[in-house]
Amino acid sequence: MVPADDIEQLVKNTRAETSTATDEQILAAAQSALESAAPAQPNIWRTIMKNRITKFAAAAVILIAVMIGINQFGGSIDGAGVAWGEVLKQVENIPALTFETTVEITFLGTKKFLAKEYVYVAGDYGTRSDIYRNGELFLIKFRLPNKKVAYQIQPKEKRYVRFDLSAEEAAIGRDPDDPRQWLEKILSGDYIEIGPCNINGIDVEGIEARNPEITGESMAMCLWVDVETDLPVRIEIEGEDFEAGKMRPQKIIIDDFQWDVELDPALFEPNIPDDYTEIQPQTQTQPQKEPEVKEPPKILSDDEKRAQIAVKEVARALFQACASKSWDEFSKIWPGLSLNMMQKIYLGGLEIIHIGEPFKTDDSATWHVPYEIELKFETRKRNLHIRYDEATQRYIPRGGL
């Protein structure tokens, strides 16, 4: 009888080898494919690592939080794969990580807006994110709680904004987006198992979140976790969301997680060049042209002129809540509007560029407040609509965000 081990050894040692001619043929075809492949953004990463200006901060970790919260609900789905209850512990104890966020918005069926964010998180230093729009670096954010300061640097414009963090803000330590800050808010989620998969050679198991509070009604969120390490590998959010006045297909992918990495402290040094101009928060270097309105502003009465100040303050408070990712505060200012996770990613950490003078176009209770804000992936310039609410006797936003 032939011993099984010998058979195994025999099969193991039976190898095939390619010929030189085969090698040349395959490599020629592969290289041709490589050359005709879609233009990569290879230098982005290198640029980031080389450029001392470009480095770090935290951001869309919200999504990680979501999955962490989801994973609070229990152990392994099938008892043999991902131990879902362990994912939180794994992530919670990791002091430093990096990841990438890719955002894709489809306009008019084909035209796509692509934004990419490289995020570095290190408990000892803070967070940093480098944000690219269509391949061009346009914003670098630092949040350095130890130094009680945050920066937003715009390399193209050669300008930056410095924000002093209050003792309370700095004491939080982690970025407000950090998943560990979100746990309590996402425990109400539900999910379904979507089975095993292999993502780029990694065996993963996935779940699909079924919590409208997280993804909204028209979005689907999937989380894929490495079955061997119980660490997240990829998060996908796909669906439609309201953007620039219309429902548009949107997709966010968070991946390339590097867990428990050793990060160079130099990455967290803003190193702002001398020729960069510091601008004050909520101001601008150039007068902004306010958004055009279809109807001319009406002439305000004395009472309305007094109300104008209060309306502007409501708008400012709303955007400041977004800037500081104070979503509880946001809900107080705009009751009834429940932001989903996608919207929080877009609005969170925004920079207020300009808030114009509120105006009215008729005798109705609606005010229009021109604003310009710098979001993570775009500059938004619109009018916020605010109405006086008789029931609560205060001004409440009603649209235009």
Partner: protein, 184 residues
């Protein structure tokens, strides 16, 4: 693994030397598994080429962060399944000794090695596809049963059972080969 990560980063930047390095590193393992799965050297070469062309065309979309070999083997298996499904592989053709290039050795040893290889690949060809995959991926691709089970969408127990059945059948098929080998 670190080397693979470095190569992949270079590949994402369009570095053809990185592509060549990856190819050189894994081509024989991949071809061996492809040949075991397809039992036809031309089909195996086509499979290897398709996988590398697809891999190269992935460009910056590639996001293989760990176990590049496992990723490429998965691609080989999927491509081989496609070829078998589409019946583009000649049915159970007897492998010729010259089908797979041997190692650098003298002409007599080459001849013996060639005959043995042809018989082993021939024996593998007689196994049901699922068993063939497990045996080839585990022994020649060095994948774990867990990885193989994921790839096949089955439990680890099922993968291990398939492996045991496959080895049992191979033992029967190759008994003669083994006995000839021990006599030599």
């Amino acid at each position: 693994m670190t080397e693979d990560r470095h190569l992949l980063k270079r590949l994402r930047c369009g570095d053809s030397d990185a592509l060549r390095a990856i190819y050189e590193k894994y081509k024989d393992d991949l071809l061996t598994v492809a040949l075991s799965l397809l039992s036809d050297v031309h089909a195996a070469h086509d499979c290897l080429q398709d996988v590398f062309v697809g891999f190269a065309a992935g460009g910056n979309k590639l996001n293989v962060r760990r176990n590049l070999k496992g990723y490429l083997l998965s691609c080989i298996v999927n491509r081989a399944r496609d070829q078998l499904r589409k019946n583009t592989v000649p049915a159970t053709r007897q492998l010729a000794d010259s089908d797979c290039k041997g190692t650098q050795a003298g002409p007599v040893k080459q001849l013996i090695d060639g005959q043995r290889r042809a018989r082993v690949f021939g024996a593998l060809a007689k196994l049901p596809r699922e068993q063939r995959e497990v045996v080839a991926l585990h022994l020649q691709g060095e994948m774990t049963f867990r990885q193989i089970a994921r790839l096949q969408g089955e439990s680890i127990n099922t993968a291990q059972s398939r492996y045991r059945y496959g080895i049992e059948k191979l033992r029967t098929f190759l008994k003669k080969e083994y006995e000839n080998g021990t006599r030599r």
